[in-house]
Structure formats: structure tokens, C-alpha cells
Symmetry: C2
DNA sequence: CGGGAGCTTGATGGACCTCAATCCCTGTGG
DNA sequence: CCACAGGGATTGAGGTCCATCAAGCTCCCG
């Protein structure tokens, strides 16, 4: 796998094809790999002066804690995802990030990030696209928690995960490995652990999907989508490149 | 009120002080005002080829509909807020926007938006800051719906609204006008109308706040925050300007 | 063999939803 | 000036979904 950003680049390539210098730049701006043991908190809520990170391998979760000890998981970053882009602009991080498995990240200094916007506008556009995509997922998550029943919500969650992992080549046919336990799933979906367990059994009984031994098998993709009201995200738009300025890249997006 | 963007500029000024040319640019890129009658849908879900808009006056809601007829309201844009920034980058809008009162918006073409990033990096940074701020509110919304009880959630919602309106000068002391009805509040908070009504009565009985005749009066701000577990957002960071490139603006943010 | 992490199942209760009805206010038209 | 309609707020009764409490299970690892 070539140097620059590996899985992130793979994901971004669904949006815009990157040139050799851009790939080189992506490789150059990343710190050497930082290894996180399972359970390590990389970013704390309220921590000031953040950099951004790229998750290279392993899974994590970003979350907020409540005064009563409750926890809401915002998203589960998987390899190729960016962390903390938002906290670069807000002064402090508004949420925490913690590794769910042993993981590897690389850091990107905010100075490099701004150089990227200035000198490699296509990269900047691609990052904005990735941010928008994440935000769209966040919206969908809100819809789930606000308006979908426990079983719809759970089905929707795994379908989304399936699509995300497919994009970076970590899902094969209708199965993929998933190192989450029922506790963290509950905290993501706004349910109790026990109810998550019951819902998973329902899904199994309905022969829709099975979650066992860190493996997800989707038995009936169509019926799952039907149940969850799931719509696949738009396929990526590979932007044709005629010149390399940011203006053009955004303009093309709107046509 | 001077030309360029009025309330949006006022909001952005909490982040970075804008120069005369920047203000002029902001004024120039906006279309003439578009008047929307109450109830008009400006953007439909799935509509392709979006522009961004600035809401100049009136209130609206952005939302997603579900197959079963349910609706999840994502946010209530108020004057000075941007609409549809995200849908400029994703090919289609992932949610709808509808005017809740008679409203006025101006449009910004995506070509202008890219020119802004290229030629007025401070403006670009300010827009990214505004996007990040919106996303942080979205996260907080998710936390509310996922993990807070109905009364906490409701209290939190009005406190956030209070802070947002204060920022643009639309709240005075502890009261502000609020053209929402219990139906839309329910759809935002993931509750039924009836339950919203009961919760509002509880808040009234506890002498925390009153919602009557389109007016919110917060009687006990401290107790409200205590109940909701509410934290005010960081005060804006007014970035000192030494030069006008994007790199510097981002660098300064991280210190 | 013991212990711990995670999964599973049952019983009970509560928060919130649904259905149904009434009330209030405002605008409208005869 | 009053009747009426309609949007919105309010209240009650009953039911459901999901949380909480409590226990037992399985598997892995020391």
C-alpha cells in the first residue's frame, strides 16, 4: 500500500482522483505512526489546542459524557477516518476520543492543514467533502435516535457500518468483522445494553443478520434496508480535473 | 445596519474581525433578497445541485422525513445562520428546509463560495468556524435525544436557543420571542406533542421557564442549566490579524 | 479452579406514546 | 355582533416500548 494516507486516500479517491504531488504531500504532513493501546483516550473533552488525526488502523469511538455518568457515543471512527477536524477550529474539543481496539493514528498539525487549503485546493475540497459526509452521517444518527424504534435503529446502524467498511474495502460480501460489544452499541444507539441484546436476538430470529464472535453477517440485505428505512449514500463523484484550483473543484461539484 | 450580510457578519465578528474589503465581498456575493412565505419549502430532500443560503430574517427548520410519516427536525435556523453549506459538497441535499415564519434569504453561488476560500482566506476560516459551531450543536442535539430525559432535553433546547439568539442580539435579559409551536418542538426533541406540553407545564410549575404567546421567559437561568446539564459554548475567539492569509488564521486558532 | 468480561433471560416498573376529548384564542364571514 | 371554524394548547385514560433490577450463563485466561 503506497505511502500517503493509505485508507484515507482510498476513501478520498471516491470523491476526486489525487495527483502524485498531492499524494506526496499527504504522506509528508503526517506524523510518524502513534500507537494507542485499546482503551486509551487520545483526546479528552474540553482539551484545548487540538490537532487533527487520521486513524490508520483499529476502531475507536468519539463520545460525550453526562453529569449522571451516562455516555452518548457520537460515531465509531474506522480506519481512514479523520478525527478532531472540528476541534481545530473551535478552541477546545467538544468531545472525547477513545480507542476501542489497539489502534494507530497519525497526527496532522493545523499549520499543515492550512498549507493544504492554500497550496493543494483539491485536497482541501476533498477534506471538506469528507467532513460533509461525516456530518451527513451524524444527521442520520440523530434521525435514528430521535424517530426510529430500537430495532429499526439497530438495523440502520449496521447497514451504515457495512457501507462505510465497504468503501475502504473492509467488508466482503455481506459480512464484516466488528470489534464492538453490546455496551458500546447501546451507548451509541441511546438504548440499554439489555435491550440491544434483545434487539439483536430479534434480528437473528427474523433471519436478517447475526452478530457473533465479533463478526457481522447480513443474511438479508434487502429486508434489512426495508426494515430500517435505509438509503445508501450517493456514490462518490469523481471530479474530472482540468486545472488544479479550488474554485474549479467546487464549481464542478455543483454541476 | 450595514450592507454585507448583517447578522451573519455580526455572528462571524465574534470569531474574527472582518476588514472593509471582506465586508464588501460578503455584500457583493449575495443575491438580492428572496422572500419566503411561511410554510414554503426552499430545499427538498434529495434535491440536486444546491447553493448555500443565508437566512436574513424569520425562522425555519431543516428536517428529514421518514417512510412512516415521522419527521426529525435537525435544527431551527435563525437569522444570521447559513443553510445548505453541506449540500454544496455532497451532490444532493440530504435534508429539507422549510420556513416556519415568513422569511428572507439570500443565495450564494458555489462559484462565489470557492472564490471566497481562494481570495479571502479569513472569510473562509470564519465560514469553517461557523460550520464547526453548527456541527457542535448537532452533536449536543444528539446527546440530548439519546441520553437526556424529556425535561432535561427540553430545558437544554431552550437554553441553547437563548444563547444562539443572544449572540445575534435577539434575546434580551432572560426572555426572547420564539415562533415555534409544540408540534415542531416535539419533532425536534424526538417526543410527542402531548408530552412536550406536559414537560412545558412541569418547567412552569417548577418556576424555571414559561412559554406562552410565542414568548419564552426564563425565570431561573441557573436552575435551568443545573437541570439540563447545560454548558455555554466557548466565547468567540477574536483572532488578531497580522496578515491576511489562511494559514496564519488557522495557526492562530490553534494557540 | 476461580475470576472477569461479555452475553442472555426473566420480572417489574416507569417514561413516554396513542387515542380521545375539551378548551382557548383568533380570524372570518354572514 | 355573533356564529363558526380552525390552529393550537391542555388534560385524562390506557397501553407499549424500553429501562432497571436481578440472576445465571458462557467463554477465555491466569
Amino acid at each position: 500500500m503506497r505511502s500517503g494516507g493509505s485508507l484515507l486516500v482510498k476513501k478520498m479517491a471516491a470523491f476526486v482522483k489525487l495527483s502524485e504531488p498531492e499524494l506526496a504531500f499527504m504522506a509528508e504532513v503526517q506524523s510518524r505512526p502513534i500507537h494507542l493501546p485499546r482503551g486509551r483516550e487520545l483526546v479528552h473533552e474540553g482539551q484545548p489546542g487540538q490537532s487533527a488525526y487520521i486513524l490508520q488502523s483499529g476502531w475507536g469511538c468519539s463520545f460525550k459524557l453526562l453529569p449522571d455518568g451516562g455516555r452518548q457515543i457520537i460515531t465509531f471512527p474506522v480506519p481512514g477516518d479523520c478525527l478532531g477536524l472540528r476541534s481545530m477550529l473551535l478552541r477546545t474539543s467538544d468531545h472525547a476520543f477513545s480507542a476501542l481496539t489497539d489502534a494507530v493514528v497519525t497526527r496532522i498539525e493545523s499549520a499543515h492543514m492550512s498549507k493544504m487549503f492554500a497550496d493543494y485546493p483539491y485536497l482541501g475540497a476533498a477534506i471538506l467533502w469528507a467532513m460533509s459526509r461525516d456530518e451527513a452521517m451524524l444527521v442520520e444518527h440523530l434521525v435514528s435516535v430521535g424517530r426510529r424504534s430500537a430495532i429499526e435503529r439497530t438495523a440502520h446502524f449496521f447497514l451504515e457500518l457495512y457501507d462505510r467498511l465497504s468503501l475502504i474495502g473492509l467488508a466482503h460480501k455481506e459480512h464484516f468483522s466488528c470489534p464492538l460489544n453490546q455496551y458500546v452499541i447501546a451507548d451509541a444507539l441511546g438504548l440499554s445494553t439489555i435491550h440491544v441484546n434483545r434487539v439483536l436476538r430479534q434480528l437473528r430470529d427474523k433471519k436478517l443478520m447475526t452478530f457473533k464472535a465479533q463478526k457481522i453477517i447480513i443474511h438479508d440485505l434487502l429486508a434489512m434496508k426495508e426494515l430500517a428505512g435505509y438509503e445508501s449514500p450517493e456514490a462518490g463523484i469523481v471530479v474530472a480535473r482540468e486545472n488544479s484550483n479550488f474554485e474549479a473543484s467546487l464549481q464542478q461539484l455543483s454541476h
